[in-house]
């Protein structure tokens, strides 16, 4: 933890001293300043354009989907009605919301418990076990994918949504690592004082550690919502009944039925793509601080 703290805290006074940012980039020559902004704005257009294209094309009638105009000549909001009628999109939306919420709640609770165990207690084998946690991050999911499928199959749950989230009851390596870092950053005196007052370990976890690490818990929650929402592989493996599909699995079905495998009714596929993507974009705009914080922490472990 100390290294993380020094790495994040130390540069602040130094970067705060000069008026705005480090010197090398702030060229005084107007020509390179213009070039700089042209490149940056150009890059922004490249990043933003596919979204605009997607939304715009999803509102166009079929013959004009590929006209590549940013503003549709004729609006066809009926595409959204059509996709709604062609597929149980509302079911998929509800499924995606419930599955990703279940995945995020379970992984946040379990990972924080395990992370607190690693951060706070001393016991034989702790470092070996933590090494194992980190080791599992390297293991490709493909290695365990088939036996895990057979477990759920044996339990009679192979065609339900349970396998999409139930594995999260046992914690997930990346989040355990992330939360452990935060728990290690809490001053140990807090817990010693609580112990003197006769607090149980559970109280220390629930009343001291959890409230103080709320931002890290939100990072975990938000990350898992996004990961679970976007997951395609597991819904492909487990879900058979179209009414149980999540949005990405459903969108894949729409692509196969109407797009690539069908009559190239791409306007339906595009409307489905917008419905699949939009909730994540909204979530990101509301909680972007936590997304960015989570990613930056990941890199900082160095």
């Amino acid at each position: 933890m100390s290294s993380v703290q020094t790495m994040t805290a130390a540069p602040n006074p130094t970067t705060a001293a000069p008026p705005r940012g480090p010197a090398p980039g702030r060229s005084r020559r107007p020509l390179s300043r213009i070039a700089f902004w042209v490149i940056l704005l150009g890059a922004s257009v490249i990043f933003l354009y596919p979204f605009l294209w997607l939304v715009s094309a999803s509102l166009k009638p079929r013959p004009e989907v590929f006209d590549n105009l940013l503003v549709p000549r004729r609006y066809a909001p009926g595409n959204y009605v059509e996709v709604w009628q062609a597929a149980p999109v509302l079911d998929w939306l509800v499924n995606s919301v419930t599955v990703s919420l279940a995945a995020a709640v379970t992984v946040t609770v379990s990972s924080s418990l395990v992370a607190f165990g690693f951060a706070h207690f001393r016991f034989p084998g702790r470092n070996v076990l933590f090494g194992l946690v980190l080791g599992t991050m390297m293991l490709p999911a493909a290695v365990t994918m088939i036996p895990v499928y057979l477990i759920w199959n044996g339990a009679g749950l192979a065609t339900t949504q349970v396998p999409l989230w139930a594995g999260n009851l046992f914690g997930s390596a990346f989040y355990i690592f992330l939360l452990r870092q935060f728990f290690l950053g809490l001053p140990r005196e807090l817990f010693e004082a609580a112990r003197v007052d006769g607090a149980s370990y559970w109280t220390m976890f629930w009343r001291i550690a959890v409230p103080l690490c709320k931002p890290a818990l939100i990072v975990t929650f938000v990350f898992e919502i996004q990961a679970s929402w976007s997951d395609l592989m597991r819904p492909l493996i487990y879900l058979r009944d179209p009414e149980l599909f999540t949005l990405p699995r459903g969108l894949k079905a729409i692509v196969d039925q109407f797009g690539q495998g069908g009559e190239a009714e791409w306007e339906i596929v595009l409307a489905g793509s917008v419905i699949t993507t939009l909730p994540m974009i909204i979530l990101f705009f509301i909680l972007q601080r936590y997304f960015v914080e989570g990613i930056a922490t990941q890199g900082r472990k160095g």
């Binding site: 130390a10 890059a43 690693f118 001393r122 946690v133 005196e189 997304f291 990613i295 890199g299 472990k301």
Partner: protein, 321 residues
């Protein structure tokens, strides 16, 4: 603060304490520790260690889920080394990774360097913009790939035509499918940008001032100050991006596999290793063969990671060493 002095932590170096009480406390702490760890310990056994063993045992059998497994020894491994589709999918995956990882790192470093030079507010704005594609579900990215890179009417080729270039058939020409998918994947470079930006912000500005006083050019500053100082982040993303690229699945599967009409579309130029593994396991129900494939993938990933660590070690600078 003083509470520490009252109750010293029962670590291994408290010899002065009366033994009985100290060991009792230590045992209680250990038990509580294992208690908090229990979800992970159970999960590790049931969903990691157990399946790993099972997967290896399965790889020595023929198993189709419906009938009980037949022990076949190492023949799955012999078969997969002789399987032209295994070879092709492995080659496809390696080509994809070798294109995608360095290009992602370069693009991300370029964008992060740009962001490091603007004020805080605008950096936040552009960072948000660059990160948006990362939260876009990969299935939708696959759809966008098919449409934007469409050879006849796609936006990319229309733009290329506009500047006088006759664009290739990205989605149907076998030699252009992978470059197309790589280009599309660069759209999701934002996560790496955020990591690099955080690393760039941590480079002490005195180093640049000192370099500038010594008359170092912008390139020399970048080469001799920036790169060494962010080498930790570069190394981390190098490893993580490679492992992810070797398991590429969603976009390519969405665009090229799953429906009968799409199956021969790209003449298997987008048959990545995980796609073939998925087909073997869950479409052909060759669970034993697919398990052997999974172990081969694991071995490939471990070997590549070891090489990367060996090679990179000389270039990575750690603070305080």
């Amino acid at each position: 603060m003083s509470s520490i002095a009252v109750t010293p932590a029962p670590g291994p170096r408290t010899p002065a304490r009366p033994r009985g009480r100290a060991t009792g406390l230590r045992r209680r702490e250990a038990l509580a520790g294992y208690g908090f760890l229990s979800p992970w310990i159970i999960g590790f056994g049931v969903f990691m260690a157990g399946p790993m063993i099972a997967s290896f045992v399965l790889s020595l059998t023929d198993y189709d889920v419906l009938t009980s497994p037949d022990y076949v020894g190492w023949s799955n491994y012999q078969d997969l080394l002789a399987d032209p589709k295994v070879r092709m999918s492995l080659a496809n995956t390696l080509v994809f990774a070798m294109l995608q990882v360095p290009l992602t790192m370069m693009a991300a470093l370029g964008l992060a360097s740009l962001l490091a030079r603007v004020g805080r507010r605008s950096a936040g704005f552009f960072r948000t913009l660059f990160y948006l594609p990362v939260v876009t579900p990969k299935v939708a990215v696959g759809v966008l790939f098919l449409l934007l890179f469409n050879g006849q009417v796609g936006l990319i080729n229309s733009a290329l035509e506009w500047i006088g270039i006759d664009g290739p058939q990205w989605t149907t020409d076998a030699s252009w499918v992978k470059p197309g998918l790589v280009t599309m994947s660069l759209w999701s470079v934002g996560g790496t940008v955020v990591i690099y930006l955080a690393a760039l912000k941590n480079v002490p500005s005195e180093l640049y001032e000192a370099a500038a006083i010594d008359g170092a050019s912008a390139w020399q500053q970048f080469r001799n100050v920036t790169l060494p100082m962010i080498s930790g982040a570069l190394f981390f993303t190098f490893i993580v991006l490679t492992i992810a690229a070797l398991q590429v699945f969603d976009e390519a599967y969405t665009a090229f596999y799953g429906s009968r009409a799409a199956a021969s579309y790209s003449s298997d130029a987008a048959l990545f290793y995980l796609i073939y593994l998925f087909q073997q396991a869950f479409q052909f129900l060759h669970m034993g063969y697919a398990s052997a494939m999974a172990w081969l993938l694991f071995v490939v990933i471990v070997i590549i990671t070891i090489i990367q660590v060996r090679v990179s070690r000389r270039f990575v600078y750690y603070e305080g060493e």
